[in-house]
Amino acid sequence: MINLLPGEEVVLVKRHYWLPIVAELFVFLVIALIPWGIFMGEQFTPPTVRGWIDANTARFFFLSCGWLLAIWILSFIAWTNYYLDTFIVTTKRIIDVDQVGLFARTIAEAPLENIQDVRVEISGILASLINYGDIHIQSAGATKEFAAHSIPKPQEVKDTVFRLRHTNRIQGEAAQ
């Protein structure tokens, strides 16, 4: 959980584009259906395999269910890794949460006033058509560069960061 500072509000939360995770989950679905395909496709299975399945139907279904359970768990791990990998822009800072795996999580943050440069990179036909790409943010802090890959509408992040930085600067000057 991200602990917000007093007066801080979350402005933007970005995740990777949804297409790769949907494709990954679809692959899991296809893999999960393999045993059921073997069971249904009588003409495609070798006679020895068919003979074993016919003689041990309960055992075959038991193993198929085990297979299904394994794929089910792996799907949730993949989805959780996708969902928790976020790029957050608040009114005071940017937070880059890298969820590499269930036991590997990196959180880097930089105050908006430390941001020096924001670069948007959209490359490829698909990325241009669907409008997703990478965003690179140069910071003056310990973490020199923040990078969020394959995020939808990266230009929106750039505009938001600049707008907030500008607003913060005006508010800072007014306070002085």
């Binding site: 055992r59 085990g66 299904l68 359970l69 768990i73 959780t80 928790l84």
Partner: protein, 72 residues
Amino acid sequence: MSFDLSRVFDLFLLGIFGIAAIISTAMGVILNYHWTHYELSRSKITTVRVLYFGVSLLILGIMGALLIAIFT
């Protein structure tokens, strides 16, 4: 001494069931920790929990029923 290979295979299936139950429970606890501690909203946590644990228990239930059918 007779050696019944199919009985050994059935015991192997029983072992698989035990491992499946332990792994799905352990992964459920780990995933639930992630859903609870990072970023997920309350309503989303409930939906995801019901989906994960509901389907896992259903599959384990079917496996258990099949195991009983195999052993009897």
